[in-house]
Symmetry: C2
Subunit: 625 residues, 2 copies
């Protein structure tokens, strides 16, 4: 049996294999947060012709079923098939679009003043063969050669001894060492045969609660080779870190969560190296940043105490681990550097973000906010840093939203609604691309635009009488953002409530933290915003809905995914790794959940833009118009 994809590719349908599995074997990866259990509804494909048996239609709407949508993980071909894979079902590999991003990253690295000094190095060594007069052991010979080349200290873990004699003789006394600098010594992490200096790659990884992003980086040039991202498969066990910890603790399923994220990263790495015809042995090191819970789950550390007062992680700084210890599908001796965390609810992703924003080096008082599934806020300057966390939920990353998606090709990232005609204008990521979902920035726009067009009220309730685009859906009222071929893209009332709660939490975080450290919004000279919004976030609209404080627009800088950016920086620079460790050490943490002020602020934020409208004079003026 054969499966033809409308893009033109023909693949083999393996017997008794689901469509998802056959596609995977052919190198076509679909998002599949539930791991093929038919529960996440992410691996939708459209059967254009041919016969197939679908064992579950869970998460598919009537409309979708009518149009031929099936879940690839639950569909088994019974003959040749012609299928269409919607963009939102594809696991995202950016491919050729990364050139610009690569230049920006290199420019950022250069701007820090740090040189290119990656986590691991390779050294090719030619050893003088032994003679009766020079008969020191192989290991001493190696050490003598390296010290004579200026290395101060060499550490050789026992595991490299068994094959050493054979390797250097088979390779006629020329071998390549991979080393990592630890504790003022170079430690061998790999011994390869012959001259294997090039190529050398490393991966910078952001492990988000909702999204996982992998950068493959050339360690010699610092160039970004490719970017791949996917939803964190742990989503099947819950949307936020708390439900994941509960799953790990009360159901004793830490291993399940650990396996899920390891398998996601393995998939992303294998897709990139396949696309670029890269030998897996060329990957020399991994650096990752994640919040404290994600870091624990990735490293297989018990997260139970993170959830219970007084909220204690196993560690905030982590010893180096190795791929073989964690089950990462690269050479087992490859080291994995974990970004240091600050506290149970401010993790390595935030340390990474501060490093990317270079906030820790700035004189002026600044705020950094990372809007992910958790919202983390840091205030400070080169002297001090105080952080806090608030739970925003995964809505801005497209998770838990009817037509949500990440900020990748096909996502509606911008929306305008004509105040008079109520006509909707959309902006889609990618050139000439059909919209397939709405990402975080698009959602902020829709809310702001609907509010000023009178389609929702201050509580976010849809006004059915106002617009023909408001209709009854499966989950109550919904607003049709886009209607075309395929399914309509809508924002439902539960979606809107999600966003309103999220923006209320973020604003409450801002204002409570400021109050705690004795400042007001006007003292803040810079606000750095990070998050998975893609290239574009309309600051004004974020202010309009009351998510961001009303300050002059030039004080805001939108930075995208700073967690992976910081991981990229540390992959390439020892100095910046030291800086990251200093940031983590310096940053203090305020627990907002015990603050009554936070709850009050949160409740006030459940209106658009805010109960205290005077905090938003510009928005007030607009509303009065």
């Amino acid at each position: 049996m054969e499966i033809t994809v409308t893009s033109g590719k023909k693949i083999t349908a393996f017997p008794n294999a689901s469509l998802l599995e056959s596609l995977k074997k052919a190198g076509i990866y679909l998002t599949s947060s539930c791991g093929g259990k038919g529960t996440c509804g992410k691996c939708k494909v459209i059967v254009r012709s041919g016969q197939a048996v679908s064992k579950s239609k869970m998460k598919l709407s009537k409309e979708e079923i009518d149009r031929g949508y099936v879940l690839a993980c639950k569909t088994y071909p019974s003959g040749d098939l012609l299928i269409d894979i919607p963009k939102e079902s594809m696991l995202i590999v950016e491919g050729k679009v990364v050139t610009g991003k690569s230049k920006d990253l290199l420019a950022l690295l250069n701007s820090t003043g740090a040189g290119l000094d990656p986590l691991t190095s390779r050294i090719v060594i030619e050893l003088p063969p032994p003679t009766l007069d020079d008969n020191i052991s192989d290991l001493e010979r190696l050490r003598r050669e390296l010290l004579s080349q200026g290395m101060a200290c060499l550490r050789v873990p026992f595991r490299f001894l068994p094959d050493l004699a054979k390797t250097i003789r088979e390779e006629k006394w020329t071998i390549t060492l991979s080393t990592i600098h630890t504790e003022d010594c170079e430690e061998i992490i790999r011994i390869s045969s012959g001259d294997k200096k090039l190529p050398q790659y490393g991966a910078a990884i952001d492990i988000g609660t909702t999204t996982i992003v992998v950068f493959l980086v050339d360690l010699v040039t610092g160039k970004l080779i490719d970017v791949a991202s996917t939803y964190n498969s742990q989503i099947r066990y819950g949307d936020d870190v708390i439900t994941r910890i509960v799953h790990a603790t009360e159901h004793n399923k830490l291993k399940e969560l650990n396996d899920a994220v390891i398998s996601d990263i393995n998939t992303l790495l294998s897709v990139i190296i396949k696309n670029h015809h890269i030998d897996i042995e060329s990957i020399d090191c991994l650096v990752f940043a994640g919040n404290t819970t994600m870091t624990h789950l990735f490293l297989g550390l018990d997260p139970a105490a993170i959830r219970e007062e007084p909220y204690i992680p196993t560690a905030n700084t982590f010893p180096l681990s190795f791929a073989g210890e964690l089950g990462i599908g690269v050479n087992p001796n490859i080291p994995i550097y974990a970004f240091p965390c600050v506290a149970s609810y401010v993790g390595g992703d935030i340390v990474s973000g501060i490093l990317a924003a270079q906030l820790h080096k700035k004189q002026e008082l600044s705020i950094f906010i990372d809007i992910g599934t958790n919202g983390e806020i840091v205030i400070g300057n080169s002297e001090w840093l105080v952080s806090a966390a608030c739970s925003a939920g995964p809505c801005f990353e497209g998770s838990g939203m009817k037509c949500g998606m990440r900020a990748t090709e096909g996502a509606i990232e911008g929306v305008t609604i004509n105040r008079d005609t109520l006509e909707v204008d959309i902006k889609v990521i990618g050139e000439g691309v059909r919209p397939v979902g709405i990402c975080g920035s698009g959602m902020i726009d829709v809310i702001a635009e609907m509010f000023f067009a009178g389609i929702i009220d201050q509580k976010g309730k849809l006004q059915e009488v106002v617009s023909g685009r408001v209709r009854k859906g499966e989950d109550g009222l919904e607003f049709v953002v886009y209607s075309g071929e395929g399914r309509d893209l809508v924002l439902t009332e539960p979606d809107i409530e999600n966003i309103v709660r999220a923006k209320a939490a973020i604003y409450a975080g801002f204002s409570t933290l400021l109050k705690e450290v004795g400042f007001t919004f006007n003292d803040i000279e810079k606000i750095y915003i990070a998050g998975g919004f893609g290239k574009f976030l309309d600051i004004e609209k974020a202010i309009m809905i009351g998510m961001l404080p009303e300050l002059p627009k030039d004080r805001f800088t939108y930075m995208g995914n700073t967690s992976v950016t910081g991981a990229y920086l540390c992959l390439l620079s020892r100095d910046l790794r030291t800086e990251a460790e200093e940031i983590a050490k310096k940053m203090t943490y305020l627990e907002l959940s015990v603050s009554r002020s936070f709850m009050d602020e949160y409740m006030s934020g459940l209106f658009i833009p805010h109960t205290n409208i005077d905090a938003f004079p510009g928005v007030k003026k607009l509303m009065e118009r």
Copy 2:
């Protein structure tokens, strides 16, 4: 089915299990160099009554078969049995006889001036439980506590993180750490629950080509708990290091050799801990010394290049390894310290011997010789050390000799032959014990006594006409040393040739090395002799046969097994480990095999006492009488 041992013990005969296996399951360990293949003939037992099927009688004499001897590994009971286990078949555990040895060892340790500072330490820590105001991570809490107690630096390998949170909470914030001092830092090697400070044991191990000896030592008091020893099961693959390397290299059987020695050590350890009711988790560290080949085979390192010119080992100094890496049956995180080696044919056992003799601290010119399967000689003082090696063969350890055995209970260790009556008087190890074999010192005595009684000539040929004890045996003429119940104990002509070759090699080593460094025997103020001769070695008789040079008797000191003694010292003292490393670094190595002088000396030594009788004026005088 039941097996009754004449000592009184009753054990179960397991179906389809050999006698050897059933005895092992009941905790009765027999020597079995071939691992139960029926080829070494070491696991002999006597069936007194009952029925059993013996599948092989290899290595048993007609006389033995007539007396009911069987190979336990090839014998399968078909009903209840009554058996007798000869002492020579028992794997040796010294049990209660170690008290005196323990005192001597402690006295030696004290005499070096080194304090008791074992390879690993345990620290019990009570952590203050976290609060909202003191909410650092578990790891940081541990580190803070240890640093506040004065520890300078703590290294925590990644593998200890996954269980850390659970362990400290289950144990209500009191845990026990085992640590090892490496690179100016304390590294965690084990985290145990609760207060587990006592007891703590370590093992000091001598891995000889022929014999393996294990000391179990109390790390807190330095007391020797017990000693166990056995033949190195690698013997089944060849008697000397060269045939073992050939087996590992040409037959690609490194793993077989590695498994053999690991299994021997596991057996010895398990026997001791069983006898003393010791929890395996109380064993915290292992230190071993062995020649360079034995060290390689134990660590699983490829020994091929040791055998080929220019004779290169993989390493002479070894990174710490862990029990789990090597398959030692203690806690997998237990560190194993390998004695540093000097060159391919002067290994850690010799460095250990020099440390035990403290030769490296002496002003006077001294010689150290270790007579094992290899004979290694070191000459020097506190300024310099030069070493060389010569192959003696395993005869002095009882291997390859018809009635040979190690110097353990039941061994004939001393022999006198009345020059007039030719009556033989023997001295046996153990009180009131029936002799069961002849150990190295006994063999030297027999040769010397036979020579002066005229029973052998200068070439070592037996003179049938002289003594009624000379008779024809299976291997030609033989001399009956002891005749009693059980089998007769004899020395055959091939046995005598073995000993003559061995003593010739040792003397040639002495004299060639001296010549090379420009000294004569008279310059030597002290000669330290090491080897598995037990408590007793008659220096005069060793001179008589021309094995040792003729010097005043008070210049000789017999030291027993110095390899395991040095291992004991390093198990208990960091200073002495540093000294051992300095000895290895300081010692130079002379390759005698390329010296023509050595061959000439060896040929001259094939006479008793020597072709150059003038080198032995005292012996000459005796001969003239």
